[in-house]
Amino acid sequence: MNAALSMTNPLLRVTGLQVEFGAHTAVSDASFDLFPGETLGLVGESGSGKSTLARAILRLVRATRGSVLWCGRDLLSCDGAALRRARRDLQIVFQDPLASLNPRMTVGETIAEPLRIFEPGLDSRARRGRVGGMLERVGLNADMLDSYPHEFSGGQCQRIGIARAMIMNPKLLICDEPVSSLDVSIQGQIVNLLLDLQRDAGTAMLFISHNLAVVRHLSHRILVMYSGRLVEIAPRDALFAAPIHPYTRTLLSAVPAPVPAPPASLPPASAPPLVPTPISARAPRSSAEPVASVPTIGGCAFRDHCAHAVTVCSTTVPPLEETVAGHWTACHRAQELR
């Protein structure tokens, strides 16, 4: 993160956030700041607590501990009216584009819903105009207003979901795996659309994805989550060039060899020969085989998969600490691994 940004006040300050479902702790002690206009990438595997963390911020699930400061007000303890006001500036785009739209509402009605709630004075003509304009901003035709979600493809439904989230010009847009269910040829369209809207409106983004390559291209900083905890927070370049936490390293090395495109304008003969890299050759030994499931009580949740684990890793949960300026890691051996 550049100095100018870190000197401004955070838009969102999450401190010690904890979410428990019965005996299961989905999110433990999550703390981070998000600055105006910033894009934070949140990566981790399924079940690591990414979505739960996002939903707890919006109070769509109840956090058991911690605070979520939004413009100086704690969203977790404020009353319903204040929460409703805050949500005007805090929107979310969900993973499943079709399931997140009401099948019985036209696209126009769905996108108009936030306007109806937050700008009740608007007459229906003006509302329709705003919605049509928004549809065009997300790359759809304004005359699709009266169509139903099932008439659209997955990519188009995601554009509708984005239109609904962006119509109030929110200060923060939370995107929960917005491109995971889309084909690769459509993925880029949606990511670029989000980038365009963000640039025009200055919206900050919390972008949740398990796809590290996508996150890399659009994030300023990246949060890595494992087993309910934030284990690494770093500026984008530092995270990809010099990851510190052993889990982050495992995650990065497990991504299948990307297939570089031959440069379009150069004669193919000059392209470097590409032999697909076998994944097993790249994956570190620690992740090559599954480990027998031993319940982790205390200590670092990654220790059984970690080549660097020592005794303290099984007794004490490593706190998230600043290992290098701006680069936070929750690992007992971070200083040796940096």
Binding site: E45, S46, S153, G155, Q156, D183, V184, S185, I186, Q187, G188, Q189, V191, N192, L195, H210, N211, L212, A213, V214, R216, H217, F240, T250, L251, L252, S253, A254, V255, P256, A257, P258, V259, P260, A261, P262, A264, P268, A269, A271, P273, L274, V275, P276, T277, P278, I279, S280, A283, S287, A288, E289, P290, V291, A292, S293
Partner: protein
Amino acid sequence: MQTLLSIEDLSVSFARPNRNISAVRQVSLAVTARECLGIVGESGSGKTQVFMAAMGLLAANAAADGSVRFESEELLRAASKELNRIRGSKLTMVFQDPMTSLTPHLKIGTQLAEVLVCHRGTSWSEARIAARRMLERVRVPEAQRRLSQYPHELSGGLRQRVMIGMSLMCEPLLVIADEPTTALDVTVQAQIIALLRAMREETNMALVLISHDLAVVAGLADRILVMYAGRIVESAAAAELLRHARHPYTAELLKCIPSLSGPLLERLPTLSGQPPRPGESLAGCAFAPRCPRAAERCRVERPLLEAADTAPVGTAPGGEAGSGNANGARRVACHFPLTP
């Protein structure tokens, strides 16, 4: 090379109240013994339906036309009794979702052993021993304990290992893996790909790997077929296809894959437009509306899948796989293919 599976002019369509939706259009392909054939395409391209037809697993409203022969036996019009002799033993399938492809109310050991009991007439006690050995082979820790567990007690990755183990119980000649890693996390995906690679080395099986993810296929396949809107648009030895795509769709698809290394981009590369809707039929090339190279001819005349010139000698040091036989021959369905 011995041809195991030979598909000729296969078409699959689904009957809908008002019209027929065509999902696979005149697909021909062959799988030879011990090879790994990758099938790549986006959702709706028909890649799964080709092999569902081969396995006799098409939905009730589907109709298949053409021919699918496995070791010279016709499968397409075979009765289920004949099919059941082959599928599950010599010809097996691993499905995408390990959550739903195992029977939830049967113990893992029973499901694995059942394969041998049904196909080989092995006794249950012997089959259970074989089941435990198989779990060890597919690197499931604590194999003995797992035998008496139910699918829901296992993680997704372990369940996929069980699925792969089940597909290998009768030493199949061909395993069809349909998006075997798509439902899994990236670190687990790497483990499953490593396992499939090891199983190929340890057994005589051929493998068809169906995936929307070119990077996954790139790590395993000898040969790759690219499908678009129900047809094969390009086929080539894997290394060659990745190095020099000839069909504009393949080339654009390769460009769209965001990379972990490489320069940082302001915007991600995209393919404009959308694939044709299911059942939508176009007079010319189905890719023409999205193709940067399309000309008038592409909109009126459908290009046939034909042999393409291979890359000039000396530019393919890694292209040994399949480059000598007819199967590895490069084919492309495009009026204006990219030059090698």
